[in-house]
C-alpha cells in the first residue's frame, strides 16, 4: 500500500484545483464511445466533459481491437496496422487551459470479466519482455498459447507494466492495479461443513453453492490479500457426531483458517465446543433463535429481534390483535413462540392459543380444528421440517384460510416453489433475503448465481448468507491485515466491519458479533407470487447487547435465551 501514501503526499494531491475532493463519477462505456480513434489531434469531437476532481470509469479495448481471436488468426490478414491502439475519449476538462499541468491518478485497472478477449484475470502477474504475446486461458482469444504473463499488484512508479490502456489519458480518471499478488503466497483454507445429502440437504445445498460462488469470484478478483482461497468441504449428512468428527478434521488435519459450518442449532452447538478450543474463526450463517455470545463465532443469519419486531406490528395492524401460534416443539420453535408472545402482548394483542408440535409429526387434523375453534385474526406458524410443513397443505384443504406469519417460510423453506398454489396464500414473512427482492443489486446477484447454478430450485436466505459471509471474512482479513482471530476481533470491535451484500449493507455488531441486517417483508398471493411490502434499512441485533453480552469486554462462550439470561 506504499504508493497510496506517496500519492496522498504528492503535489498532485495537495495542490490540485479540485482541492482534494473527489467529484462525480462518470462512465465512458463502449456504447457512449461509439467510434474509436487511433490518433490524438483535433480531428475528433469531445465525448465527455468533466470537472477537476472527477472520476471516470472507462471501458477500454485491447490494442488490436479484438480482431485476433485465435492462434490461427494472422495479424497481416486481420488487422490494419495503422489502425491499432484504439483510444477512448476525448474527454474535456472544464477550466483547463494551456500551461496547466494535468494530474491523472489511476485508481484501478481491471481486466474484463467474464473474459471476452484480452487478458484473463487469473493469469497476469509479471511484466515480461514478451508482453505483446498476450496470454490467455481457454475460451478466450489469444495471440500465443505458450506464454504466461502474470498480472501483478503494482504501484505506479514501480511499474514496468505496459499493458496498453489505449485510453486517452487526459481524464482525471483513476485506474489502479489491483490484481493478484505474485503466486508465491500460500492459499487461504476455507473449511465448509454443510449437508450435501440427508434430510435437509434441499435447504443447505444453496449454502454450499453460495460459498463456492463467492470463493470463485474472490479468486478471480485476486483472492484475499493476494492469497487464493482453497475450499475444503465435507458432507456431515445431518449427523451431529459427523459434524464433530469433521470439524476436528478441518481444524487439526486440514488446518483451515476459517470455518463455515452448520445449519441447525444442534449442529452449531456440536461444533462450537471444538472450535472454542482452537483459535479459528467460525461463521454460523443461519437464522436461528439467537443468544450465542461467543468470541470465536460470528452469526450472520437473521435473529428473532430482527424478524419478529418488524413483522408482528405490521400483522397486528393489518389483520388484528388475536393471534394463534403453532410452533415446532424444540428450542427454535419454543423461543420463537416466546418472542411472538412477548411482542404481541406488548402491542396490546392477545394470544388465543398456542400449540407445540413434535418434530416429525405430519398429520394436523386436531391442530386445524383447534385453530378454527379459537378464531384468531391471524396465525404465527413456526413449523419446521418436511413433515411439519405438511400443515400448509392440510390447512387450506380443510378450509382453514387465515393470514399467516412466519420467520422461516418462503425465504428459507421456499414452500411457494414446492407446494401447489394456493397453499401458501396470505403468508407474510420478514427476513433479510428473498430471491424475488425488487432491488437491482439483488437481481444482479441472482443472475450471477443462476448463471453458475442453473438448476437451483431457490436461492434461500442461508444461501445468500453463506455467500455474503465469505465476503465478510474477506473484509475482516483485509481490515486486520491478518487472519489471526485476535486481530480480526479487534477490527470487529471498531464496529466498522461492513460489506455490501446482495441483501443490502450488513455490519457486524461489536457486542454480540452478530450482524445488523437490511430486513425485507414480503407477502405471498394465491398464485404463489412474492410481493415486497416493506424494507427496513438497518435492524441491529440488539437483544444480546441488551441482556449483557459484550464480547469487546469478555467472552463467556454461552448461549442465552429469554428464560436463561446471564447471571448479573
Amino acid at each position: 500500500m506504499g504508493y497510496n501514501r506517496w500519492v496522498s503526499q504528492s503535489i498532485m494531491k495537495r495542490r490540485r484545483s479540485a482541492a482534494g475532493k473527489t467529484g462525480k463519477t462518470h462512465t465512458l462505456t463502449e456504447e457512449q464511445q461509439t467510434e474509436f480513434y487511433f490518433t490524438i489531434g483535433p480531428y475528433s469531437k469531445p465525448l465527455l466533459s468533466v470537472n477537476p476532481g472527477d472520476r471516470i470509469v472507462v471501458d477500454t479495448r485491447d490494442a488490436l481491437s479484438g480482431r485476433i481471436k485465435t492462434e490461427a488468426d494472422k495479424p497481416s490478414e486481420k488487422t490494419r496496422l495503422l489502425f491499432a491502439h484504439p483510444q477512448n475519449g476525448p474527454i474535456i476538462i472544464e477550466g483547463a487551459a494551456p500551461d496547466d499541468a494535468l494530474a491523472v491518478h489511476i485508481e484501478e485497472m481491471l481486466p474484463p470479466y467474464p473474459p471476452s478477449f484480452g487478458i484473463d484475470r487469473n493469469k497476469i502477474c509479471h511484466p515480461t519482455p514478451e508482453r505483446d504475446h498476450i496470454v490467455l486461458d481457454r475460451g478466450s482469444a489469444l495471440l500465443a498459447q505458450r506464454l504466461l504473463i502474470r498480472f501483478c499488484h503494482v504501484a505506479i512508479g514501480r511499474s514496468k507494466m505496459t499493458i496498453r490502456l489505449c485510453a486517452l489519458l487526459t481524464g482525471i480518471a483513476a485506474f489502479a492495479l489491483s490484481a493478484a499478488q505474485a503466486a508465491d503466497k500460500p492459499p487461504l483454507k476455507i473449511g465448509l461443513l454443510e449437508d450435501q445429502s440427508g434430510e435437509i440437504a434441499l435447504f443447505t445445498l444453496p449454502k454450499v453453492h453460495g460459498t463456492q460462488l463467492a470463493v470463485e469470484e474472490i479468486n478471480k478478483a485476486g483472492g484475499i490479500m493476494g492469497r487464493q482461497l482453497e475450499l475444503i468441504a465435507y458432507d456431515p449428512q445431518f449427523d451431529n457426531s459427523k459434524f464433530q468428527e469433521f470439524t476436528r478434521r478441518l481444524l487439526d488435519k486440514d488446518k483451515v483458517d476459517v470455518l463455515f459450518a452448520g445449519a441447525t442449532s444442534a449442529s452449531r452447538e456440536a461444533v462450537r465446543p471444538i472450535v472454542d478450543n482452537s483459535d479459528v474463526l467460525y461463521f454460523y450463517t443461519n437464522q436461528y433463535e439467537g443468544g450465542v455470545c461467543d468470541g470465536n463465532m460470528i452469526g450472520t443469519g437473521g435473529l428473532p429481534e430482527q424478524q419478529f419486531s418488524t413483522l408482528i406490528p405490521w400483522m397486528m395492524e393489518k389483520y388484528g390483535k388475536k393471534v394463534y401460534i403453532i410452533a415446532a416443539d424444540y428450542n427454535f420453535g419454543q423461543i420463537s413462540a416466546e418472542w411472538t408472545r412477548k411482542l404481541v402482548v406488548e402491542k396490546g394483542g392477545e394470544i388465543v392459543g398456542q400449540e407445540l408440535i413434535p418434530l416429525g409429526v405430519s398429520q394436523f387434523g386436531q391442530t386445524i380444528q383447534n385453530i378454527q375453534k379459537a378464531k384468531p385474526d391471524w396465525l404465527m406458524s413456526l413449523v419446521v421440517g418436511n413433515s411439519q410443513s405438511s400443515f400448509y397443505e392440510q390447512a387450506p384443504a380443510a378450509g382453514l384460510k387465515i393470514p399467516m406469519g412466519s420467520s422461516i417460510t418462503i425465504g428459507l423453506g421456499f414452500e411457494h416453489k414446492r407446494f401447489k398454489p394456493p397453499a401458501m396464500e396470505n403468508m407474510h414473512v420478514a427476513m433479510n433475503w428473498f430471491e424475488e427482492l425488487d432491488d437491482p443489486k439483488a437481481k444482479e446477484f441472482v443472475a450471477r448465481w443462476r448463471a453458475k447454478f442453473p438448476n437451483e430450485t431457490y436461492i434461500n436466505d442461508m444461501g445468500q448468507n453463506a455467500y455474503a459471509a465469505v465476503y465478510l471474512y474477506k473484509k475482516l482479513v483485509e481490515m486486520a491485515g491478518s487472519t489471526k482471530l485476535g486481530d480480526i476481533r479487534k477490527q470487529i470491535a471498531t464496529g466498522k466491519a461492513c460489506i455490501d451484500a446482495p441483501e443490502g449493507q450488513v455490519c457486524i455488531d461489536p457486542k454480540s458479533q452478530h450482524v445488523a441486517h437490511r430486513m425485507w417483508q414480503i407477502s405471498v398471493d394465491a398464485a404463489h407470487n412474492v410481493k415486497t411490502e416493506r424494507s427496513w434499512d438497518r435492524i441491529e441485533p440488539y437483544w444480546l447487547g441488551q441482556i449483557g453480552c459484550d464480547l469487546t469486554k469478555d467472552d463467556p462462550k454461552e448461549q442465552y435465551t429469554p428464560s436463561s439470561l446471564p447471571k448479573k
Binding site: 465435507y234 451431529n240 464433530q244 487439526d252 442449532s265 444442534a266 456440536a270 465446543p273 424444540y330 436463561s564
Partner: protein, 366 residues
C-alpha cells in the same frame, strides 16, 4: 487367579494360540507408543473411534452371544450421556467429580437396563419383538428428550435443552498433584480409551469363556433345550442384557465427555442402526471379530464420506445387505472359521484330486 486368567482362552472366542496373543501384545504396544509418533489429529481420531467400540462389544454380547437383537444400545448410550452431563454440570469439573459422574452414569444405565430387561425378558418377549420393543423405547426417549427445550426442563443446574442438546459439559478430568488436574483430551483421552478398551475386552473374554458364557451360547442356539436342561434362561439373558447395555452407556459417557455435548438425535433411528452394521460386518459371534470389524467400518465410513460424500451411506447400506446375505456371521468370523480351508486350499485341492484318482483307479480295476 490362575483359573480366572485361563478363561481368557476358551471355546467362545477366537484366538487362543501363542501366536494370537503375541500379535495382540504387539498391537497393544504399537497402540501405546503411537501418540509419540503420530500427529495430533490421528491420535484424536483413533480415540474417537475407540469410544464407539464399547457399544459394539456390548451388542456383540447381547446379540452375538445371547441371540437377542437389541436396538436399545443407542438408548443407553444417550441416557448415560445425559446422566453424565447432568451430574457433571451440577457438580463441576474439579475434585475428580467428572469421574464420579462417569460411575454414576454407568450405574444409572445399568439400573435402567435391569428394569427394561426384566420387563422384556421376564415377560417372555423373544425374537423380533425384542428388537421392536427396544426400538420403541429408544424412539420414546428420543422423542421425549426432543421436546425438553423449555426452561422448566432442568435437573439442578443442567438444562436438558431439547433438540439442540446439552452443551458445556465438562470433560473427564482427575485431580493430580499440585492442585492441578489432568483433563482427558487428546493423548490423555487416547490412553484412557485404550486402557478401558483392553480391560473391557479381556473382561468380556473371561466372561464368555466361563460357565456363564457357555450357558449363554447354549441359550442362543436353542432356548428351549437350555431350559429343559434346567437353566433359568431369563437370568442369563438378563445379565447379558445389562452388561451389554452398560457397555453402551460407557460409550455414551466417553462420547459426551469427548465432545462436551449430547443430543437426542444420538438416539434416533439412523444412529440406532449403526452398531448393528459395525457388529454385523466383523462378526457378532466373536469379540475380537467385533472389535476389528467395528474399527474397520468406522474408518471406512469416515473415508467414504471424505471421498464421496453422498454415496457413503449407500455404500454402507449395500455393505450391510451383502454382508447379511453372503456372510451373515461376519467376514472376520468366516475367515477365521475357514482359515484352514483358505490357507491350505492348494493342499486340500491336491488331496481331493488324489482321492478322486484313487477312487477312479479302484473303480477301473474292478
Amino acid at each position: 487367579m490362575r483359573a480366572f486368567l485361563s478363561l481368557l482362552n476358551g471355546p467362545q472366542t477366537f484366538g487362543s494360540s501363542r501366536g494370537f496373543w503375541a500379535t495382540a501384545i504387539a498391537v497393544f504396544l504399537v497402540a501405546l507408543l503411537f501418540p509419540l509418533v503420530g500427529d495430533g489429529y490421528t491420535v484424536g481420531n483413533l480415540a474417537y473411534f475407540g469410544v464407539w467400540v464399547f457399544m459394539a462389544l456390548g451388542l456383540s454380547l447381547i446379540w452375538g452371544y445371547g441371540g437377542m437383537l437389541s436396538f436399545g444400545q443407542t438408548a443407553f448410550f444417550g441416557l448415560a450421556g445425559y446422566s453424565y452431563g447432568v451430574i457433571a454440570i451440577n457438580l463441576g469439573a474439579n475434585y475428580g467429580y467428572p469421574v464420579l459422574a462417569l460411575f454414576c452414569a454407568l450405574v444409572i444405565a445399568a439400573v435402567l437396563a435391569l428394569v427394561l430387561g426384566y420387563f422384556m425378558i421376564y415377560g417372555r418377549i423373544t425374537g423380533v419383538f425384542v428388537g421392536i420393543v427396544t426400538l420403541s423405547v429408544t424412539l420414546t426417549f428420543a422423542t421425549f428428550l426432543n421436546q425438553t427445550a423449555g426452561p422448566e426442563w432442568r435437573i439442578g443446574r443442567a438444562r436438558l435443552n431439547g433438540y439442540n442438546g446439552m452443551t458445556r459439559i465438562p470433560s473427564l478430568s482427575i485431580p493430580w498433584f499440585d492442585g492441578d488436574k489432568i483433563t482427558f483430551r487428546g493423548p490423555a483421552l487416547y490412553y484412557l480409551v485404550l486402557v478401558l478398551l483392553v480391560l473391557c475386552y479381556l473382561g468380556l473374554r473371561i466372561m464368555v469363556n466361563s460357565r456363564f458364557g457357555n450357558v449363554l451360547v447354549a441359550i442362543r442356539e436353542n432356548p428351549e433345550r437350555a431350559e429343559l436342561l434346567g437353566y433359568d434362561i431369563r437370568r442369563y439373558q438378563l445379565v447379558a442384557f445389562v452388561v451389554g447395555s452398560t457397555l453402551a452407556g460407557l460409550s455414551g459417557v466417553l462420547y459426551t465427555a469427548w465432545g462436551q455435548f449430547i443430543v437426542p438425535a444420538a438416539m434416533a433411528l439412523p444412529a440406532a442402526a449403526m452398531p448393528i452394521i459395525w457388529v454385523a460386518v466383523g462378526g457378532r459371534k466373536d469379540l475380537t471379530a467385533t472389535l476389528i470389524g467395528t474399527l474397520f467400518v468406522l474408518w471406512l465410513f469416515q473415508t467414504l464420506i471424505v471421498i464421496s460424500q453422498q454415496y457413503a451411506l449407500i455404500v454402507i447400506g449395500a455393505l450391510l445387505l451383502v454382508t447379511i446375505l453372503v456372510m451373515p456371521g461376519g467376514y472376520i468370523v468366516w475367515v477365521v472359521e475357514n482359515r484352514d480351508a483358505i490357507f491350505n486350499w492348494r493342499r486340500h485341492r491336491a488331496e481331493r484330486l488324489a482321492e478322486s484318482r484313487a477312487v477312479a483307479s479302484d473303480g477301473a480295476s474292478e
